[in-house]
């Protein structure tokens, strides 16, 4: 339906999912079935689930890599793996978990939930959303192509130079990793921009910023973090690739290069990144835990503020990853002190959760168990982080298994536990069926015990002096039993995750049917059917409090939220654009139809990056890269060509 006007006053009406309006919207918003729909869909719910599935696939791959390594390390002097194989495994494991699992899984949840939480019909840039997924997938495949060819990254995820330079690492391994990371950075960046604009501009009227669900705040904050941090790592990797293939001298000392430049650029990115992969998970806990505690979160403003403060602090303390590189004494003391400070915002969150439990009436479910144990895991990962922030202690701790234990408590404890809790929490919304609680308990306990069995003793392995990234160790250093225990724990953890998949596959068919709001949750996503219709909300709801579905019972809100009655937007695919601060209706946004552009542009870019990697073997690679560039450019041009339907073209023209 073409735009026939420059402005309009939308109707306010009551509507349900089986009204004529809903049927009209269904026809407008539904994705074409079949293969075409698969490649062209821009529905955030489909894309969100794709993100989640893909990220879990990478979790499984990374986990299997870890298990192989754990077998190698189970006993001293094992020869299951050659050093080269081990090096590739630990590098691929690290980069898979950190880059291809940890953020994408959170992006998946955010993608699925953002418009539902915000009372909107899709992300601000639906096509960009599809694009960021395709690029994520393509770059993941790109990076794994190297592994399949036997040329996987072999210098760790941190990838220090000069070992990553051609002189010491002549194969194409590092070129794959470097280009793959630049490629992936594009996905992260556009995804972040999309979250920012969505959270700022497409909220239900009345949902002022102090009423946003905390998970939204988490994702919004880290998206800003990404915008400013990702260029650093993309640049670092691009310069690495130039050093390797174009003969520049950024990192090698032969012509005044600086190996430490790599570490600065890398940690300027990677320190904020640590918060990027935990803050949205913390947000999920801050939204999920109160639902089961039957009360709103204690200290909403404090928790949101702590989220923002953590991210800002994250940009100032990258040097504490480089304590042993020979920094001046004064710098060591200052950075030690400022790194301690980061504890405070984290402590705010921890005590807010504890307070929520103590002043609530916790209902014990699997999701709740994950959220509650998250608090303890968070604390363990936090205090070991404090220990490494103390420079003298860090001289001993750094690059030992103590840090490995720390990072796993951060990544599994804070990211995975939050995600698994989130999955039990939102699975009914996504599929319309409940996950089995019985299997869920087994899943939780085995995962929880396996994880702690595997990684709590690992602190001790570190304190006993076992360095990281060694493919084997001699038998007489006192590490044997601890490593064996860790291996057992790792397999137990893997078994727990396996149970999760069993539960998912079982429940998809046989799970109990969930109503729209099985947990009696407070926020807007629980107001729509499970799974939600393609248009999410038949009418755009209006919000008058932080907990639209609880406000009557809590006596909250100024005025009254309304979900059934709201703005009618049905002149084509439309949603409402609102002001940043207090979400006043500002503009009627036209949303794009399903489109091939995201996929074709990704293809063009894949051709380009493949061309660049081919230059390692043949100069024709440059031609392929150029072809990719042209394809990408053309694809973008087609994508951005102004459309009348989107209200981008003047009405009087050719009229």
């Amino acid at each position: 339906m073409a735009v026939t006007e420059y402005d309009r006053a939308p109707l306010v009406e009551e509507s349900t999912t089986d009204s004529p309006l809903a049927r009209k919207l269904e026809a407008l918003w539904e994705t074409e079935p079949g293969i075409v729909g698969f490649f062209t869909t821009v529905d955030h719910k489909k894309i969100g689930i794709r993100y989640i599935v893909t990220a879990f696939a990478f979790l499984v791959v990374g986990g299997l890599e870890a298990l192989v390594m754990r077998i190698q390390l189970a006993r001293p002097n094992m020869t299951l793996l050659t050093p080269e194989q081990y090096d590739q495994l630990f590098s691929m494991h690290g980069l898979t978990m950190i880059f291809l699992y940890a953020l994408p899984i959170l992006s998946g949840f955010s993608n699925y939930l953002f418009p539902l939480l915000l009372g909107s019909r899709d992300m601000a840039f639906p096509r960009l959303n599809a694009f960021s997924y395709w690029v994520y997938l393509a770059s993941g495949i790109f990076i794994y192509a190297s592994f399949a060819m036997g040329h996987g990254a072999n210098d760790g995820w941190f990838n220090y130079v000069p070992y990553a330079l051609k002189a010491y690492n002549p194969g194409p391994n590092m070129d794959f990793y470097a280009l793959g990371m630049v490629f992936l950075g594009i996905s992260t960046t556009v995804g972040s921009a999309n979250f920012i604009v969505t959270a700022f501009r497409t909220r239900a009227p009345g949902m002022s910023i102090n009423r946003l669900p905390i998970m939204t705040w988490g994702t919004l904050t880290v998206s800003f973090g990404n915008l400013f941090a990702v260029p650093s790592v993309s640049l670092a990797f691009f310069l690495l690739w130039m050093d390797r293939q174009l003969g520049t001298h950024f990192y090698d000392t032969t012509a005044d290069g600086q190996p430490l430049l790599w570490q600065h650029l890398f940690w300027m990115f990677a320190h904020p990144w640590v918060y990027v992969i935990v803050l949205p998970a913390m947000g999920m806990v801050s939204d999920g835990l109160p639902t089961f505690c039957r009360r709103p979160l204690v200290g909403y403003t404090a928790v949101v503020l702590s989220t923002v403060a953590t991210m800002v602090l994250g940009f100032g303390v990258w040097l504490h990853h480089m304590f042993a590189t020979g920094l001046p004494f004064l710098a060591l003391s200052f950075f030690s002190g400022s790194s301690f400070i980061i504890t405070i915002p984290s402590a705010v969150a921890v005590f807010a959760w504890i307070a929520t439990i103590w002043t609530g009436r916790p209902v014990i479910t699997t999701a709740f168990l994950y959220f509650a144990s998250f608090i303890a895991m968070f604390t363990i990962g936090g205090v070991s982080g404090v220990m490494t922030a103390s420079v003298p202690a860090d001289f001993q701790l750094t690059d030992t298994y103590f840090v490995v234990a720390h990072i796993h408590y951060v990544l599994i404890g804070i990211n995975l536990f939050g995600v698994l809790g989130g999955l039990y929490f939102w699975f009914p919304k996504m599929t319309g069926r409940m996950l089995s609680e019985r299997l869920g308990r087994w899943n939780f306990w085995i995962t929880f015990i396996g994880f702690n069995l595997g990684f709590l003793p690992m602190h001790l392995t570190g304190l006993f002096g076992m360095p990281r990234r060694i493919y084997t160790y001699p038998p007489d250093l006192g590490w044997n039993t601890l490593n064996l225990v860790t291996t057992v724990g790792a397999f137990m953890l893997a078994f727990g995750i396996l149970l999760l998949f069993v539960n998912i596959f079982h429940s998809l068919r046989h799970g109990r049917i969930a109503g729209p709001n099985p947990w009696d949750g407070p926020s807007l996503e629980w107001a729509v059917p499970s799974p939600p219709p393609p248009y999410n909300f038949a009418v755009i709801p209006v919000v008058a409090s932080r907990h639209p579905l609880w406000e009557k019972r809590l006596g909250e809100g100024i005025g009254e939220s309304s979900v059934a009655r709201g703005l009618v937007l049905d002149h084509g695919k439309e949603t409402i654009g609102t002001t940043v601060l207090d979400a006043q209706p500002d503009v009627i946004l036209k949303m794009p139809e399903d489109s091939w552009s995201p996929f074709t542009v990704t293809l063009g870019m894949s051709v380009g990056f493949t061309g660049l990697i081919l230059t390692y073997w043949t100069p024709y690679g440059w031609a392929a890269a150029a072809a990719g560039l042209v394809l990408t450019g053309l694809g973008v041009l087609v994508w951005l060509w102004p459309e009348r339907k989107l209200g981008q073209v003047a009405e009087h023209a050719h009229a």
Binding site: A74, L330, A331, F334, S338, V488, V542, I558
Partner: protein, 420 residues
Amino acid sequence: MRKLILTLALAAISDPAGAHAGGGRADFSWSLEPWVLASLGAAALAYGIGLARIRAEAGDRIVGGGNVAAFLAGLAVLFTALASPVDTLSDDLFSMHMVQHLLLMLVAAPLMVWSRPFLVFLWALPRSLRRSFGRFPARRGAARALNLLSHPVFVWSAFCGVFAFWHIPGPYGLALRHESVHILEHACFFASGYAFWAVVMSPGGRRRLEYGASVLYVGTAAVLSGLPGALIILTDRPFYPIHAEGAARWGLTALEDQHLAGLIMWIPAGFIYLAAICILFALWMREADRRAAAFARSMPTLAALIACAALLGGCGEGTEASSEAGGIGNVQRGAALISQFGCPACHTIPGIAGADGLVGPPLTKMGRRGYVAGVLRNTPENMTRWIRRPQAIVPGNAMPDMGISEDQARDITAYLYTLR
């Protein structure tokens, strides 16, 4: 500031003898320069007069107690920065100079913004002048210029740019050598700081930049202003030789002084920015609350509209068949000895971890072989002899005599005979 004191204290601890030992002047005297005192005094006087007149006409509605307090505090900070030992010390120490600059930009400037000086100064003027000055910003050209100059993008760039520019060694040295340039430098800092904070603060009630945008505005400026600090920390090359002598008077090397300055620029300054960010953010949330309430009251229309373990085998299993070879020696001990003497380095031996050497022959199925070393019949006795003294049996062969005792050799043999 706690950090700063701590570090100064530390510097003193780490080199207690150094302080005051440089011979020359290392004093805490006040630098009561007449022009500084005169201008601060004039500002105070003008503020006082203006304040009295405003109060006479409008009470404390326009300029409240908070504003006056801010002015006094700002004046005190300016006095501290420009006339106290901070100023004297900053001739010696780059780090103290940095403290001075940060006081001007990050402490005095926002306090002064809060005191609404322009308004009050205007009232200090005689009525006629006041009127013509008061109308000045409303003129078209002036309004445009003021608008541009106070545009957040411009102010932000100027603030970050000015800060970085004056800490480049060239301009910095110039300012230290020429008093007039030095005054210009400090004026730049104060003015850019004033403009910077004026954008995010609203003592008069009208905000130039929304709180949300302000958070971003201050946050990016914080990171960008930290980077020059990072740069002068991350080098072991002193860039401000002009302070070498002065630093020595305080027992610091020029490089330590420079590092300290960089850290002050990065971390304590960073915390000031962080505090500003937190305050602005909290105000943003409060503003949302307030406006939601106002919105609900003023727009009833809207309200009305809406009525493992199995995998671990494979490495330690070789010792299971121990009983059969028991008559020769201790099988388990033999296995341990094989590792201890380094046999795995050359031989592939089933059941021994890491024994995959390819130098000597593999010892698989050793219990079933006919000959030892190609010359001796494979009996336990011969095997033991060979293990003890290979060079005696086949002189010059590659297997070394390792000083293995008879008992040890028997144990090893016992193990090898389990390999069938």
